[in-house]
């Protein structure tokens, strides 16, 4: 995935200073944007994406208000995909209330390359991303790139034979990683590594929580 992400952690520090019980409580909201380049292809190329900036509703209609005609988003429902397609001649997305919350992911394909700007709040604190046993599309809830360990999903939290499927845009196929004895096998890297705005299929034997602790200093 060629994600050229510019995370502008423009701290609009809304310092809401209040006085509660003789102490000062400060609220620091960090908003920013991510410019995500989507490969696109007249032949239809898929790409796995994630929304890593929280908005009030995280609906596709607000996250991606305008897209090239026939841009299609596929979201995993546990057994298969649900889809929504953008068509300007039909008024936009056919399912505009489709949601893509931070931590979730989806496939997208477009007839031509373009860039979408995701705008929203960087989530902070202790962030829990619950995942089920079996297939689900998951992503980091915060806009950071790195190995799963760096993104706070270490091998120690998963089990032997748990699987990660990472989509290769160039070959339009999965790179499969399997965990054995605390080591990832398969793929070209020693560990699955996600770019900003990228999601993956997680296939664990047991349900669990991917907890990320993140604070903007």
């Amino acid at each position: 995935m060629r994600t050229k992400a510019l995370l502008c952690a423009a701290a609009l520090a809304a310092g809401a200073v209040t006085s509660m019980a003789q102490s000062n409580v400060y609220s620091l909201n960090v908003v920013g944007y991510i410019n995500q380049t989507l490969a696109g292809s007249s032949a239809g190329q898929y790409q796995m994406i994630a929304n890593q900036l929280n908005t009030t509703n995280n609906t596709i209609g607000s996250l991606i208000p305008v897209a090239p005609d026939f841009t299609t988003l596929l979201k995993w429902n546990g057994t298969g995909f649900d889809s929504t397609t953008y068509a300007s001649f039909a008024g936009g997305w056919d399912h505009p209330t489709f949601t893509l919350n931070p931590g979730e992911g989806a496939f997208i394909n477009s007839p031509n390359p373009w860039t979408n700007t995701f705008v929203g709040e960087v989530l902070q604190g202790s962030l829990t991303n619950a995942y089920p046993a079996g297939y689900s599309i998951r992503a980091s809830q915060i806009p950071l790139a790195g190995t799963l360990t760096a993104l706070q999903l270490p091998a120690s939290q998963l089990s032997d034979t748990d699987n990660v499927l990472q989509w290769n845009v160039a070959t339009q196929s999965y790179i499969s990683y399997t965990l054995l004895g605390g080591t990832w096998f398969g793929g070209t890297l020693s560990e699955p590594t996600l770019a900003i705005g990228e999601s993956m299929f997680l296939f664990p034997a047991k349900a669990g929580n991917w907890v990320q602790n993140f604070t903007v200093q």
Binding site: G44, F70, L74, G80, F89, T178, F201
Partner: protein, 178 residues
């Protein structure tokens, strides 16, 4: 360790095998670009028209062998329908022969109804191949479908009706003589 890897791979394969074959019932996007036209060959169909999917396993060349998926959808506009991810029960990851049949919704709830209604507008695409996918594989749209136009179901001419009547009369005469 090899056994474990094989077991994991087998598990993934089994999950995929249990799933139904699916595709994107869209004639635009993801490699598909086959708008459907009205009888004039230039006006693109809108929401007054419906499309349904017909299919058969493997490669067939006779459209009468195709089964109706019975999944009619309305056109979104500009000659395109956007039916989204659609599954075919009883299939897996395989290549099928497909055809899209369209009709004006006012002439019936199915293509089969409209196709025998004089004055109805109906049309069928050429047969095309489609690779169904299962499991985590993202589905294909109708990339091999080509554009086509609808036509009007002919009203039987009086002479045709007269010939049919004569034929019936002849049959009755033969039956009486026996």
């Amino acid at each position: 360790m090899k056994k474990l890897i094989l077991t994991a791979a087998l598990g993934v394969a089994c999950v995929s095998a249990l799933a139904q074959g699916s595709f994107l019932f869209n004639n635009g996007g993801n490699g598909a670009n086959a708008p459907v036209f009205d009888t004039d060959g230039t006006t693109k169909l809108g929401p007054a028209f419906k499309a349904d999917f017909y299919w058969a396993a493997g490669t067939v060349t006779d459209s009468t062998l195709l089964a109706d998926l019975n999944h009619p959808i309305s056109f979104a506009g500009s000659g395109f329908f956007l039916g989204g991810v659609t599954s075919i029960p009883g299939t897996g990851a395989q290549t099928i022969t497909a055809q899209v049949r369209v009709w004006d919704a006012a002439s019936g709830s199915s293509w089969a109804q409209a196709a025998v209604l004089p004055g109805a507008k109906v049309g069928e695409s050429a047969l095309f191949s489609l690779a169904l996918v299962t499991g985590a594989t993202p589905p294909n749209a109708l990339a091999n479908m080509t554009s086509f136009s609808v036509s009007i179901v002919a009203v039987p001419e009086p002479s045709t009706l007269a010939l049919a009547g004569l034929g019936l009369a002849g049959l009755l005469v033969l039956r009486r003589r026996k």
